[in-house]
Symmetry: C2
Subunit: 440 residues, 2 copies
């Protein structure tokens, strides 16, 4: 859009645009609350999404609203932070101007915290037919898809067609794939048989396919092996060293042959940084991550910063860049926020140092693996640790209370109650036309 | 679909098909739980919807899941009741066969409890451009629409265009229209100004248009007048004796001239019974309601019953039929359920007698009107009564707890937290294609 974005408040302070309100963008905007900067926070959605719990939305354990936080609410009574819902399209680095789909905005500083989307590794059939899970909308889409498939399966006489509707294949053995596989297996083991007494759930396969030699590649092999044991206990078929080559919406091709038939292939095999125009080739690494220095400043730029999954910051400990995880994004945002505050007092800015606080994944009810800097543990205690850490990390007191209650309910009742197919639509035009015609 | 619906359990008992799982259908199915009937419950959705609270979903006060109850869960451990998600299309009264979009089913008894949809009174422009609210999906659509309009308004420089995005016009002064108008006004008065500090909310009109001489036509004029006073206190513009003749998506035409400009015209002005093929003309009244006897049996039929909004049962007290409200539907279902049980013991069946338990409507925080058989009251006590009655009427313990907590939160924090634009979609094909192209 080739006009200036209107209705922005006037301000005497330097203007910082933050693109993206994920872990990094939200953290930075919060650090700059009520400080002498004019902050414009831009996101495609009007809410912050808590990505680690997407899988619970996909498997009917949590409502989307429980893991989403309205951004406008986060900045009530904060006149120096202005939120706008819109997508960033192009940077004009000479003019210090950001073009968005709601108008352009000039900046003194620009911070790109745009995160990453699904990586299909160039495979068109996978892109067209698989389902990604990189947003709460996509998680809700998965929930609807799985439930619709079951409602369809029970109306079908042919057994092989029913099986294809019931099977779920998940590709990618990272935390997302592992957590999804565990949660889907628990639905199959405990919940669906009560909902669909006329279906035979021995027929339903839950498959997790990983290209590498172990699950949870970012963690130790102990944790990876334990996760595999836990999944197999839940009767998930785990295939390691295995790549899915093709998927036409029904047949999953592995090693040149159809190994499974499913209408639901969930793709959690990789991520790719979100794209924006106006970045020079020498500012970008292969794969699309943007090159930054130790202060997260974009290469050859004075006033553009990049945070989180979208940046590549090489250092002695991380010659290939930091892992693309929430911890890195949040710590980079905190460091950059402090550097913005340091600028105000002409104090020296600090380079970023990543402090690995550990990682964890949950496989199912009472099953998880946790790695902290000095200790690794698994099982029930790990599961409690996982619950506690995620509950504390959620934005918003109300969300925290409601998730706590939801988890309590689901644990006690073994009955995630959100098996609802609700879509925000109005009645179909043809039905409405019928109503009009009848009244004429 | 011209094949029998497969996967139904075998049963030696008479087969009762219930079409629709609203207040009447759900009540009847529950009455027949674990009785010697084979019950097939059919609904277009896999959940029961609690219609009296749609307006709170539309105004971001409650999550759709809080007022929706999964039907399969309602019939766990009830082998004689089988739920199928599907739409009824046509009855073959000779063959005792119901055709649905998932296959046909033969019945011994058929119960139509299909409810009603929006009535546009034959006005095509209204049908095309207004937004109805007869399902939880439509309520969610309204929430998304209002929030999108605001996010758009704040990116627009032209003030008159902004106003049209901010105004909300509601047509129909029954309980739905009154409750919607009150809730939208409260968003305007208390919530939106904090969310959008750069918009001028004096510019936002909330208008309620009613064709008749008073609001809440089903109640006394005392209640109707009080509701009007309350709404005006919340700065709602109430127009009585006024009909909307045309709406092109922007201009609202009243008495031949454009009285308001709005992108959001909510239509709650009337209902029309849902339609099914295979009903003879002499079984149907003008307007589409199906004629039934005192036992809710369809005219000239031996084994088809009709319950709730879709039936017309004349009696001495109600020469034009009963009011189309939840109370009637539930009482008819209870009576029919008892008659089904009476058949088993060859006892005499009872004709339906409607017992009017009263009615109520809430206008806003601490404001409501209540009419019980022997007393009418308004204000704070009425509001508490309204809250209590609705909380008790909700299906499902979890829903009840969560609504109670939501209401408590909203009351204390004055901050309905669901101002989220979440749609169950996956990333757009063109964006995904870009991701693929970049990786090739």
């Amino acid at each position: 859009m080739d006009h200036a974005l209107p209705n922005l408040p006037q301000s005497p302070y330097p203007k910082v645009i933050i693109v993206g309100a994920g872990f990094a963008g939200l953290k930075l905007a919060r650090t700059l609350r009520n400080k002498p900067y004019q902050v414009i926070l831009l996101d495609k959605n009007n809410y912050h999404q808590f990505q680690p719990l997407f899988y619970q939305v996909a498997t009917a354990g949590l409502e989307p609203s429980a893991i989403s936080f309205p951004l406008r609410k986060a900045f009530h009574d904060t006149p120096n932070v202005t939120f706008r819902m819109g997508g960033a399209k192009r940077i004009d680095q000479q003019q210090n101007r950001l073009y968005t789909d709601i108008g352009y905005i000039d900046y003194d500083y620009l911070v790109l915290a745009m995160g990453a989307d699904t990586n299909y590794f160039g495979m068109e059939s996978i892109m067209k037919n698989s389902i990604p899970m990189k947003s709460v909308s996509e998680a809700l889409f998965i929930r609807n898809k799985i439930i619709s498939n079951y409602e369809r399966a029970i109306t079908i006489a042919d057994e092989s067609k029913r099986k294809a509707l019931m099977n779920v294949v998940i590709v990618g053995g990272g935390p997302t794939g592992v957590e999804l596989a565990g949660a889907v297996a628990e639905l199959r083991n405990k919940v669906f048989p009560k909902d669909y007494p006329q279906l035979n759930f021995d027929n339903m396969k839950v498959v997790l396919v990983e290209m590498g030699p172990s699950l949870l590649a970012g963690m130790s092999t102990t944790s990876g092996d334990k996760a595999k044991t836990y999944l197999e206990k839940l009767k998930v078929e785990v295939l390691l060293n295995t790549a899915v080559a093709d998927y036409d919406g029904l047949n999953v091709t592995i090693n040149g042959e159809t190994r499974f038939q499913t209408h639901t292939l969930l793709w959690a095999a990789g991520i790719s940084p979100n794209f924006i125009e106006g970045i020079a080739d020498d500012q970008k690494a292969k794969g699309g991550r943007l090159l930054v220095d130790a202060f997260n400043r974009l290469q050859s730029s004075r006033n553009i910063y990049v945070l989180g999954d979208g940046c590549l910051q090489k250092g002695d400990d991380y010659p290939k860049g930091h892992p693309q995880v929430a911890q890195v994004a949040m710590q980079q945002a905190k460091n950059l926020g402090n550097n913005f505050l340091a600028k105000l007092n002409a104090k020296p800015e600090k380079p970023f140092r990543y402090k690995d606080l550990g990682s964890m994944a949950t496989i199912g009810r009472k099953l998880a693996v946790v790695e902290l800097p000095f200790i690794k543990f698994q099982g029930f205690l790990a599961w409690l640790t996982w619950l506690f850490v995620h509950l504390m990390a959620i934005v918003g007191v109300k969300n925290r209370i409601f998730i706590f209650l939801d988890w309590g309910w689901n644990y006690l009742a073994f009955d995630p109650s959100l098996r609802l197919l609700i879509k925000p639509t109005i009645s179909k035009p043809e039905d409405r036309e019928k109503l009009v015609a009848e009244k004429k």
